[in-house]
């Protein structure tokens, strides 16, 4: 079970970073590619991630381990759905927010930032849930290093995979949908693992 949690943490980080990179390309045809757009995307995504982390930590304090794993799976499934909705939502979001004044800084920031928030929040929700499960199962602090390491390694692969391979071969829309699919598969993996382990100690 622990290896699955570590793998899931890496996959979550992969999806999060690949989505961040892909969002810059999603936004560029409408709002350009500038410090404003990059910063809006990174800041919104990471702040949503932080908010999800905080909420996930509070949830974890109130849950037993098995529900906690299902909660992590649900969060990742919702993250996948939020990612998948982006390509279809962006043209409508553009018409609503940006098209009237495509260089107005507040509109640019709102346009680039808001689509990142749902996915960032749900990805962030999963992290502390998975870490808490891992710490409880391993009953030793050193597993934290492995979880963090898997997260950082997943981040590297997410950035490089998106920049060097996914966007070039699948296109921007295909990349976003592939990330959504990986997020959903990750959710399924955790749910299956939780379903297979009926007897778990409380956190």
């Amino acid at each position: 079970m622990l290896p699955i949690i570590i793998f899931a943490e890496g996959l979550t980080a992969f999806c999060a970073l690949a989505f961040e990179i892909a969002m810059a390309r999603v936004v560029a045809p409408y709002a350009g590619m500038s410090t404003d757009t990059w910063t809006a995307i990174i800041a919104a995504f990471l702040l949503a991630l932080a908010s999800g982390n905080r909420t996930g930590g509070r949830l974890a304090a109130r849950m037993d381990l098995r529900p906690m794993q299902f909660a992590a799976a649900a969060a990742l499934g919702l993250a996948g759905m939020a990612v998948a909705a982006v390509p279809a939502a962006i043209p409508r979001w553009d018409a609503l927010v940006l098209a009237g004044a495509p260089t107005e800084p507040l509109r640019v920031v709102a346009f680039a930032a808001l689509p990142c928030i749902p996915a960032g929040f749900f990805f962030g929700l999963a992290n502390p849930l998975l870490m808490t499960v891992a710490l409880a199962m391993a009953r030793r602090g050193s597993v934290a290093g492995l979880i963090y390491g898997a997260g950082a390694a997943g981040s590297v692969l997410g950035v490089l995979g998106a920049l060097w391979w996914l966007v070039d071969t699948l296109g921007v829309r295909g990349t976003v949908l592939a990330i959504a699919a990986i997020g959903a598969a990750n959710a399924g993996l955790i749910a299956l693992a939780a379903a297979g382990r009926r007897h778990m100690a409380p956190a």
Binding site: R25, A28, P29, Y30, A31, G32, M33, S34, T35, T37, W38, T39, I42, A43, L46, L47, L49, A50, N53, R54, T55, G56, G57, R58, A60, A61, A101, P102, T103, G124, N127, P128, M131, T132, L135, R140, G141, S142, V143, A144, G145, L146, Y148, G149, G151, A152, A153, S155, V156, V159, L160, L163, W164, V167, D168, G171, V172, R173, G174, A203
Partner: protein
């Protein structure tokens, strides 16, 4: 108290890690630019360093380490991260020179510079798991909440580091200053958490920290006249005949512009002289000629057109406000009332512009030596440009590409051919080796297009001693069919907002199967 201090430690460390990532790219930019490769190498270097640090931080001191032992490791990690970060600016130039190849700073130098960020990242990677282990070992803390708080602190710290570096610090203290600030922060944190107050231990540590913070920044080199959010700007002058002066503007690693102080009409770079000849054909067909330039840089061509007789009403879209300011103040672009500069992204500004009055010439000069904004090469963007061109207008793109085959230029020409009725590639004759300028001319009306087989323009080159010397440059025109015949095995793709693999093309890797295979 510890509920706040532990997340705070992670917050500060995450902020410094992101600042280091940005700093190492910008420190290397004057040598290797800021294309996909330097950014990828830096991200990989930092994140791999963090990965190793995280794993080691999970086992440091053994499974049953006490809180003072973990604090000792935390202090050591921060002190090591600080020292390694303070050394980055000092080592960048030496590293670039040591790994330079015969043709300049290539992939070896790029990776070597990025690896400078790895040691501080390994050390910084210890922090999060050590902090979490301290939380685990602290009995009165509610662990799940602490886990959430530590994750959140890491994410918020990353935002703070990115925003502070991108919006404030780079412009104020530069990349070297950013590295010094991050290194100093880590050293101070390391000194604070040393798990003892015995003078025999702390006095040498405090002394070393103060000396490192005071002395190491002195040895960092700064090659930039000005650092902006986007680029390192350098200017250098070459005297011309008489008392005239030629001033070059270098953005990161590549020369962008060369302006003649006394004669705005003299265009010294070969591509600029050719572009001007092509543009003049479109201006001649207009009663009140108008031009739009995307990517102003030193504004050499806009200045030439705005100072012509009659003047061409020229609008420049420049992403970087500081580049625009230096073009105006130090590249002599302020002297014509016919020249107007708009600061913003080319695509976003163009989108907001009315379609009338139209422009006779649109010039794309935002493509750099090693990087091209993907949203400025696509068919959707070409349609935006075409909608604002006059009936006899021309869209000119200056592309810096591999000479043989120029995959990016071929793809851009193929893309433009879906929107414009006549598209030519202008290449130097004899062909250059390595990288070269290719000018792509896309005409709205073939009947009014300037399409001779070749043109020769006067340019200025710097000889081995750096002295300017006049030289004629011959350009040969290839229409798209001729270009495809010249490079039969080079496949060209039509670039779209969904798929524009420009870095792949710039690297010489085809994005499709060659037509003959």
């Amino acid at each position: 108290m510890i509920r706040i201090l532990l997340p705070l430690a992670v917050f500060l460390s995450a902020a410094a890690s992101l600042a280091v990532e940005i700093a190492v790219v910008r420190l290397g930019a004057p040598y290797v630019g800021q294309s996909l490769l330097p950014w990828s190498a830096a991200i990989a270097s930092v994140l791999l360093g963090l990965t190793v640090g995280h794993v080691l931080g999970g086992v440091a001191g053994g499974a049953t380490a006490s809180t003072p032992t973990l604090r000792g490791w935390l202090a050591a990690a921060w002190l090591a991260a600080g020292l390694a970060t303070l050394l980055m600016p000092t080592l960048t130039g030496t590293t670039a020179a040591a790994f330079a190849g015969d043709d300049g700073f290539g992939a070896g130098a790029t990776v070597a510079i990025a690896l400078l960020a790895c040691p501080p990242s390994i050390a910084a990677g210890f922090v999060a798991p050590l902090v979490l282990r301290i939380a685990v070992a602290t009995p009165h803390l509610k662990l799940p909440r602490m886990v959430g708080a530590i994750y959140a602190a890491s994410a918020v710290g990353s935002v703070a580091g990115t925003v502070a570096a991108g919006f404030v610090l780079l412009e104020r203290i530069g990349a070297a200053g950013l590295a010094h600030m991050s290194g100093s922060l880590w050293l101070v944190l390391g000194a604070i958490v040393v798990p003892t107050r015995r003078p025999a231990v702390v006095v040498p540590i405090y002394g070393a920290v103060v000396m490192a913070i005071s002395i190491l920044p002195i040895f960092g080199d700064n090659r930039c006249l000005l650092e902006t959010r986007y680029t390192c700007i350098r200017l250098f002058d070459k005297p011309l005949g008489g008392a005239d002066l030629l001033r070059f503007m270098v953005l990161d690693e590549g020369v962008h512009s060369a302006s003649d102080r006394d004669r705005p009409d003299r265009l010294h770079l070969g591509y600029a002289a050719l572009t001007d000849r092509l543009a003049q054909a479109a201006f001649a067909a207009a009663r009140d000629p108008r031009a739009l330039v995307i990517g102003g840089g030193g504004a050499t061509l806009p200045r030439a057109w705005a100072n012509a007789t009659p003047p061409v009403a020229t609008e420049v879209i420049e992403l970087d406000a500081e580049v625009a300011r230096l073009a105006r103040d130090l590249m002599w672009a302020a002297r014509s009332p016919a020249l107007r500069t708009i600061v913003g992204d080319g695509r976003a500004v163009l989108r907001g512009m009315p379609r009338s009055p139209s422009y006779d010439v649109a010039l794309m000069d935002a493509y750099r030596t090693r990087s091209v904004p993907p949203h400025l090469v696509t068919v959707e963007f070409a349609r935006e440009v075409a909608a604002r061109l006059s009936r006899n207008g021309v869209y000119l793109s200056n592309i810096i590409d591999r000479a043989d085959p120029p995959l990016l230029a071929l793809s851009i020409a193929t893309t433009l051919a879906t929107v414009f009725s006549a598209v030519d590639l202008w290449v130097t004759d004899p062909p250059d080796r390595g990288t070269t300028n290719v000018v792509v001319a896309a005409w709205t009306n073939p009947a009014h297009a300037l399409r001779p087989a070749e043109m020769t323009v006067a340019a200025t080159v710097l000889d081995a001693g750096g002295t300017p010397r006049a030289q004629n440059v011959r350009w040969r025109r290839l229409d798209l069919a001729a270009a495809k015949a010249r490079w039969p095995h080079a496949c060209a793709v039509s670039l779209t907002d969904d798929r524009a693999p420009i870095d792949r093309l710039l690297a010489g890797r085809p994005a499709c199967r060659p037509p003959s295979s």
